[in-house]
């Protein structure tokens, strides 16, 4: 039983490490900021997840609370990484970084968000008289 557990946890740790390595390779190989973010999120999700699950199988929910700390690390990573990625992507787009596409066309989504220079409302949507979601306010 413990042998099976060991093999499974080793497999998890090594495959997680491989996913981290893939995310690093993608970080170097991909052509622009946005695609590199996809590569980086590879290591943030499955890379970190598999490594921590593998270590959990090794440690169990041990007496010195190692397992619980591992779970907390995983949960914090899963909560913070999308927020950081989203903030980065939005800042990069508003700063004028244009996404790379295969055929050089700008992309199908409309890129000129109303006014790129006027992006204060993104951080500060409670400013009086200016709402970040005008349509939604109208619905209420």
């Amino acid at each position: 039983m413990s042998l099976v557990l060991d093999v499974v946890s080793w497999a998890c740790i090594v495959i997680g490490g491989l996913f981290c390595l893939l995310s690093g390779i993608g970080l170097v190989r991909f052509p622009d900021v946005f695609t590199r973010m996809h590569a980086a999120s590879l290591g943030d999700t499955l890379g970190a997840g598999l490594i921590i699950v593998g270590l959990l199988l090794q440690a169990g929910l041990g007496a010195d609370l190692v397992g619980i700390k591992l779970v907390m690390i995983l949960v914090f990573l899963l909560f913070t990484s999308p927020v950081a990625t989203h903030a980065l992507a939005q800042a990069a787009l508003l700063d004028g970084q244009r996404p790379w596409t295969r055929d050089g066309r700008p992309t199908e989504g409309k890129l000129d968000l109303r006014d790129a220079a006027d992006d204060d409302f993104l951080l500060d949507d409670r400013a009086p008289g200016r709402s970040a979601f005008p349509d939604q306010e109208a619905e209420r």
């Binding site: 996913f19 993608g26 996809h38 590879l42 997840g49 999308p82 787009l93 989504g109 968000l113 979601f133």
Partner: protein, 171 residues
């Protein structure tokens, strides 16, 4: 009050788990003080509402996670294939409809999109989200609306609750 109490209990349990000292009265007392201080600061920052402390959606969110984890595994494999063979990628940006009504629901949907590798939510604008995808297929999947429906369902528990609160005149 409910939010303050649940935040306090959560913080204190966190303190206990991180410190590992269950019986030392000094450390327990310090834990109570620091948890109370944090709740006070949160109250001063007006963070003690259903958005800051989303206890109402916790149950359904737990039921939503396994499906989300499975999606994360699938899209990880897709992105890993793209890393090995970069000729596969065809990045694309498009607006995806989001049917959530509350801000919290939109946050959950946008975070789920970003958490699955291969799609990043770049901007939220009313009822739609600007998504950057590594492969056009993932945008197609998002238009299919499976994730949208599921986050709607998680958000549903919040709405029933706020209806009840608003109905009792507490606003």
């Amino acid at each position: 009050m409910k939010h303050a109490l649940s935040l306090f209990v959560g913080l204190f349990v966190l303190w206990l788990l991180l410190s590992g000292h269950w019986s030392d009265p000094l450390l327990l007392g310090l834990g109570v003080v620091s948890a109370a201080l944090t709740v006070f600061v949160a109250w001063r920052m007006e963070g003690l509402d259903h958005e800051g402390v989303p206890v109402a959606v916790a149950l359904r969110a737990l039921a939503y996670w396994p499906w989300l984890l499975w999606q994360i595994v699938l899209s990880n494999l897709a992105v890993a294939r793209c890393v090995i063979d970069p000729d596969r990628i065809a990045p694309r940006m498009a607006w995806v409809p989001a049917s959530q009504r509350t801000d919290l629901g939109k946050v959950m949907f946008a975070n789920s999109i970003t958490l699955t590798p291969g799609t990043i939510s770049v901007q939220v604008d009313g009822g739609r989200i600007l998504v950057h995808a590594l492969e056009p297929g993932s945008i197609h999947d998002l238009h299919g609306g499976e994730m949208d429906r599921r986050t709607d369902w998680v958000e549903g528990s919040l709405e029933r609750l706020s209806d009840a609160v608003h109905g009792s005149g507490k606003a």
